[in-house]
């Protein structure tokens, strides 16, 4: 019998697998220093293979192994014999109007995650908030919400929150508290000073409540305290412009932006609002060639710095020098001399400063200079530069500081002195945790021990509430009413989206009770708005209409109180140019944990840092040069020492970190909090110095010594590596505009081994603009909240078992001392010819008629073949039944998505539940699903609009248009898997 001859596929002759010339010149990208040197030869890191077989600890005897084996067979057999469990169905007693079981309700509110107070839309199901999203109609943040905001919904269900008030550690009732405390406060008022410490208060009604309280207890002081305060920034305007002001920054007309040590896209001021304008101003396609240029001078490799067109790494102590040098240059260019100290700096750095100054001068009136420093002199130099450039009143709007109480570091310092001196008779605290964040813990303890009455309004146990005599727990912001002054006539409203889960009470309500007021806080806000905010507008005639509109929209804009005109006064600047022995230490806030208040949130702990990609820890960052000088590698332990402060931390070698600098994140090393944050990392606040009236986050002359020991950091940057293939692409502005330079490499239309899919009614697809993605990681937490993605913990992350459906790959190119960075969100690419689908033995991953690559959990038997065959490494395996057994934490789960069990593969579904919801909505209205019916979770949360999702079958959809962009490309096109996710290259605007 003749052998059947298999038909040969006929390959077109002109088809090449090789890249074209353009990509050969492209920069070499690398993801980690280790990866750069071994370049993928070390296929399995040491211990990885052993670890793979470590599910049941391998060091067992044969007999033990058989016992385990026997049990593991017997247990499922026995449990599967059980009868189906009886479930109870509870209905509402009385249905609230508007609640329909199984249908989500949305409420507009304002975020309480940080001081930025972004506008939110809160999704509730059966009365439970389960997701927060940015409110696109908010005049303040204009849509999008950061990772921290997304994670607040989990903090609401934190099981370590206080359940009821406590008196001397014993549970009590609010009635008992209200009976006892006014009497104690009266005594305290006669014996000394009553002090209320809060975070920043931007709520006009809260300030009015505090005023009522003061009227009742006149011996009273309100001291806002922020561990990472903007004290110097606010103070500086008083000195240069004679006005205590909260500046409002606007990038909407800025062409050149210079930031010195200010991570305005990560944690500084209001990252969401900044990102919105930043990405719009850098959209070279939409703006027909114009593009904001961003220069970042910094010691830390920050999120903002990683996006800069020109990034100048300097030592932490040099940031101040750069500002003065910049002022001198600008002053020279403007011809208006401003007295400033002479600066001695490296010639090359000075030349760079000159170039930056020239570029700023070219864009005068359309530029902005920012500084993250907490030295008044530095901020005065910035004000002077902005003044000379004509930016004040344009990109820097000086809003008079009304309705806002911001932290003043010197006032807090005086308070601690008063406490130590025994002058404080009562200490009330809310939202502020000096017991943890104060730089001299012994001094704080000493001070606290002399305060006879301490009352804490903390939501959950913290270091400050530990010594409190009375705990009067406050509500989470999702359970509260509140208002926010957002500057320039804009006001935000926070409305409760759930009844308080425990016997807690808004602290404003407690203060009102104790001040003898009978109004509750909701009525108080209304009366305050009626008297002070309602009269400032003319659109609504009646207060009820005005109020309903404000509650519905989550806030209101009553028109700008005038952009204050202020006369500029020449600042008198000083400069600390003394040489110091040792390194400069810079303390910074991580994108997730920030100043430490969110330390009990496991989502934020497991969020890989946008730059270092470390989860669950803080560490000492060193530049590659400094590290090799000391002879340490990532994971080695070092001891930092200044005076009598010592701290040993693992090293992380960070490319691009300023020379002679060590950077450490604050917010870690909490000693009093719930189980998620307890003992994670180490507390670096003791290195803060009080100098010149402010808390300084840069400390000079820190000694560094190598100590014994090694600590494995749970880094994700080396996981799921795509082996140095051509994945990120970048072009400069000129290339982006030219029609000639295409970044496409492999040609389209390769022959396929598989039959074409029948075109469905819809074809879902996504386009991601690498030029807009700042790496902020909001999408990661948004996806986690939406899709019930579990937290696995540090140990499991070390084993590469993190579960995030979307990750941000961070690529470096160029030198280790100053690399360029590209952030790339990677999720399931929903390939047309999906390699995962062909290897699944049980058809658990299949293609849908609308082009989705679907994972069917109930079919999956966990062979993990699909994950092995995925070229993008986006599939995640449930190695265990990850904990969803916390009765409180479970309430944050999205009921429209199943919780996957052990042994099941999962991955991005393109938010299938949202597609279905949009489709159902359209079906009920008798039409086809259209653009705008739904947004996927990552797209909705993205503050910079980098992710666009839509229907490729509709040629007019935004995603279709982006896909036609000639610079667009897909990942690993040469594999011919035909992904449904398309990328636009990173566009740079070099000087």
């Amino acid at each position: 019998m003749p052998l059947l001859k298999a038909p040969l596929l006929e390959w077109p002759r002109d088809w090449k697998v090789t890249m074209d010339d353009k990509t050969k010149e492209a920069p070499q990208y690398w993801q980690s220093i280790e990866g750069q040197s071994v370049s993928g030869t070390d296929e399995f890191p040491s211990g990885f293979v052993e670890e793979m077989f470590d599910v049941v600890n391998a060091k067992k005897s044969r007999r033990e192994f058989l016992t385990i084996l026997g049990f593991s067979v017997a247990i499922p057999t026995l449990t599967s014999c059980n009868k189906i469990p009886v479930t109870k169905a509870l209905g509402f007693l009385n249905r609230e109007e508007g609640t329909v079981p199984g249908v989500a309700n949305w409420y507009a509110s304002t975020c309480g995650g940080c001081e930025a107070a972004c506008g939110l839309l809160v999704k509730t199901r059966e009365g439970r908030p389960i997701k927060v999203e940015g409110n696109p109609e908010s005049p303040h943040s204009r849509g999008g919400v950061c990772a921290v905001g997304q994670a607040t919904v989990l903090s609401l269900y934190d099981s370590s929150r206080f359940v009821q008030p406590l008196a001397e550690g014993k549970p009590t009732t609010w009635a008992a508290i209200d009976g006892r405390i006014p009497e104690l406060l009266r005594t305290a008022n006669s014996q000394g000073k009553i002090v209320l410490i809060t975070g920043r208060v931007s709520s006009p009604s809260t300030l009015a409540v505090i005023a009522k309280f003061r009227a009742k207890y006149p011996n009273f002081e309100h001291i806002p305290y922020e561990p990472f305060s903007y004290s110097a920034l606010f103070e500086s305007f008083e000195k240069t412009h004679g006005l205590r002001s909260i500046p409002e920054y606007s990038l909407s007309d800025v062409e050149t932006l210079v930031a010195v040590g200010a991570d305005f896209l990560g944690s500084w001021y209001g990252p969401v609002a900044f990102a919105k304008d930043y990405s719009a101003q850098r959209d070279v396609n939409k703006r027909k060639g114009a593009m904001l240029r961003h220069v970042q001078v910094e010691a830390l490799m920050s999120v903002a710095g990683s996006n800069a067109d020109l990034r100048v790494p300097v030592a932490a102590g040099e940031e101040a020098l750069v500002l003065v040098a910049l002022l001198r240059e600008i002053s020279k260019l403007s011809g208006r001399s401003i007295e400033s100290p002479a600066v001695q700096m490296d010639g090359r750095l000075l030349a760079t400063v000159r170039t930056i100054a020239a570029d700023l001068w070219k864009a005068k009136g359309k530029s902005l200079v920012l500084s993250g420093s907490n030295r008044v002199d530095d901020q005065m130099a910035v004000n002077a530069i902005n003044e000379l450039l004509g930016n004040i009143g344009r990109s820097v709007k000086l809003m008079p500081a009304v309705d806002v109480a911001v932290a003043s570091d010197s006032r807090f310092e005086n308070l601690v002195s008063d406490m130590v001196g025994g002058k404080v008779s009562a200490l009330l605290s809310i939202d502020a945790n000096p017991g943890y964040a104060y730089y001299a813990p012994e001094r704080w303890k000493n001070g606290v021990s002399k305060v006879p009455l301490q009352i804490s309004f903390a939501e959950a146990r913290n270091e400050t509430s530990k010594s409190a005599h009375y705990i009067c727990p406050g509500n989470h912001f999702l359970e509260s009413w509140n208002d926010h002054a957002l500057g320039g006539g804009k006001y935000g409203l926070t409305q409760p989206t759930i009844q308080p889960l425990r016997a807690t009470r808004m602290f404003q309500e407690s203060l009102l009770r104790w001040a003898g007021e009978t109004l509750d806080y909701y009525d108080f806000i209304r009366s305050h708005w009626k008297a002070h905010i309602f009269p400032r507008q003319k659109r609504q005639l009646l207060f009820e209409g005005f109020w309903s509109q404000a509650v519905h929209d989550g806030g209101i804009d009553v028109g700008a109180a005038s952009n204050a005109k202020a006369a500029f006064k020449d600042p008198r600047l000083t400069l600390d140019s003394a040489k110091s022995e040792g390194l400069d230490l810079i303390l910074y806030q991580k994108t997730g944990i920030r100043d430490g208040r969110h330390a009990n949130n496991p989502w934020l702990h497991e969020l890989p840092d946008p730059i270092t990609k470390v989860t669950w820890d803080n560490y000492a960052q060193l530049s590659p040069e400094t590290a090799s000088k000391i002879g340490v590698k990532t994971g080695d332990m070092i001891a930092l020492q200044k005076g009598n402060i010592n701290l040993s931390l693992p090293v992380l070698v960070q490319p691009g970190l300023g020379g002679n600098t060590v950077a450490v994140a604050v917010g870690y090393g909490r000693t009093e909090c719930g189980k998620a944050g307890l003992g994670v990392g180490k507390n670096a606040y003791p290195f803060v110095v009080f100098a010149g009236g402010e808390y300084q986050r840069i400390q000079r002359g820190v000694q560094l010594t190598k100590v014994s020991g090694h600590y494995e950091l749970a880094l994700t940057q080396t996981h799921h590596v795509m082996e140095g293939r051509d994945l990120v692409r970048e072009v400069n502005k000129a290339e982006a505009l030219s029609t000639k330079t295409a970044v496409h490499s492999a040609e389209k239309g390769q022959p396929s081994m598989w039959p074409e899919h029948k075109p469905g009614e819809n074809r879902w697809g996504m386009a991601i603009d690498l030029s807009k993605c700042t790496g902020c990681s909001a999408c990661v937490i948004s996806c986690q909240a939406e899709n019930n993605v579990p937290v696995v913990g540090r140990e499991e992350v070390l084993k590469r078992r993190e579960m995030h459906w979307i990750r941000l790959d961070r690529y470096y190119s160029g030198s280790e001392s100053n690399p360029s960075v590209v952030h790339q969100p990677i999720l399931c690419q929903h390939c047309e010819n999906a390699p995962c689908e062909t290897v699944c033995p049980v058809l658990a991953t299949v293609h849908s008629s609308d082009g989705l690559n679907q994972q069917v959990y109930n079919r999956c038997v966990g062979t993990r073949y699909c994950a092995n065959n995925c070229p993008y490494k986006v599939r995640r395996f449930n190695w265990f039944d990850y904990s969803h057994d916390d009765a409180w934490g479970r309430m944050a789960l999205n009921p429209d998505i199943v919780v996957r069990s052990r042994g099941v593969m999962e991955k991005c579904s393109f938010c299938i539940q949202r597609i279905q919801e949009g489709r159902l909505k359209a079906k009920k209205e008798g039409r086809k699903v259209a653009e705008g019916d739904f947004k996927v979770a990552c797209q909705q949360s993205c503050p910079s609009d980098a992710i666009v999702f839509g229907d490729l079958a509709d040629p007019n959809s935004e995603v279709s248009k982006l896909l036609e962009h000639q610079k667009g490309y897909q990942l690993l096109e040469e594999l011919n898997v035909r992904p449904r996710v398309s990328f636009l290259p990173k566009v740079r605007n070099p000087l």
Binding site: S80, I84, V86, T87, K88, A89, L90, G91, F92, L93, N94, R95, V100, P101, G102, V103, K758, G760, E761, N762, V846, S848, S849, D850, L852, Q854, V856, Y857, N858, R859, D896, I897, V898, V899, S909, I912, Q913, Q916, R919, L920, K923, K924
Partner: protein, 181 residues
């Protein structure tokens, strides 16, 4: 001869055992016919059958959302404030409202967590309640009429022409993630 008889007998026994196993295995997870006692002996026969109350008066959510829902206790009191208000069973409802503890009904129809079913598109699409829930108007005690298995869903959808192998007619009708996510 004896050997043959023993062999045949053995084969029959083994065959019967296998058949039993298959029949039993098919029943795993199938709760068709489930008819539990309820904390209040509510009769659909009286309400929906004799008094002809529309299903959607109580199960109003079935038109709007994913689940038909247990009616709120206050809804029962719309009528029972007047009708049979002295019955001890109605007393249980009043007690539930007074104590703010809802009545713990025993759930009859329950789909596994990995199945997404939406009432509203079926009800609005003109599917009769009885088509899935059976003759509820004649049930004194609520009983699971249909098997609610995937095959049962697909049979109906096939008849309607929007499940494999006819799914080309409507978008996404036969996609796994139409129901499983």
């Amino acid at each position: 001869m004896k050997k043959i008889v023993t062999g045949l007998l053995a084969l029959t026994v083994i065959g019967l055992l296998i058949e039993l196993a298959v029949v039993q295995a098919k029943k795993i997870g199938n709760t068709q016919g489930y008819e539990p006692d309820q904390p209040i002996p509510f009769s659909h026969k009286i309400h929906a059958g004799e008094n002809k109350i529309d299903c959607r008066y109580c199960h109003f959510a079935s038109e709007r959302g994913r689940i038909a829902g247990i009616p709120p206790t206050q809804l029962c009191m719309n009528c029972h404030d007047q009708i049979r208000k002295d019955s001890p069973e109605i007393g249980k409802l009043r007690e539930a409202i007074a104590s703010q503890r809802p009545v713990a009904w025993v759930r009859v129809h329950e789909l596994p967590a990995f199945v997404y079913f939406n009432h509203s598109e079926h009800v609005r699409g003109g599917v009769n309640c009885q088509q899935c829930h059976g003759p509820v108007e004649s049930m004194t005690r609520m009983r699971q009429h249909s098997s609610l298995t995937m095959g049962w869903c697909l049979n109906c959808h096939r008849d309607m022409g929007n499940a494999p192998p006819h799914d080309v007619k409507t978008a996404t009708g036969g996609d796994c993630a139409r129901c499983h996510y």
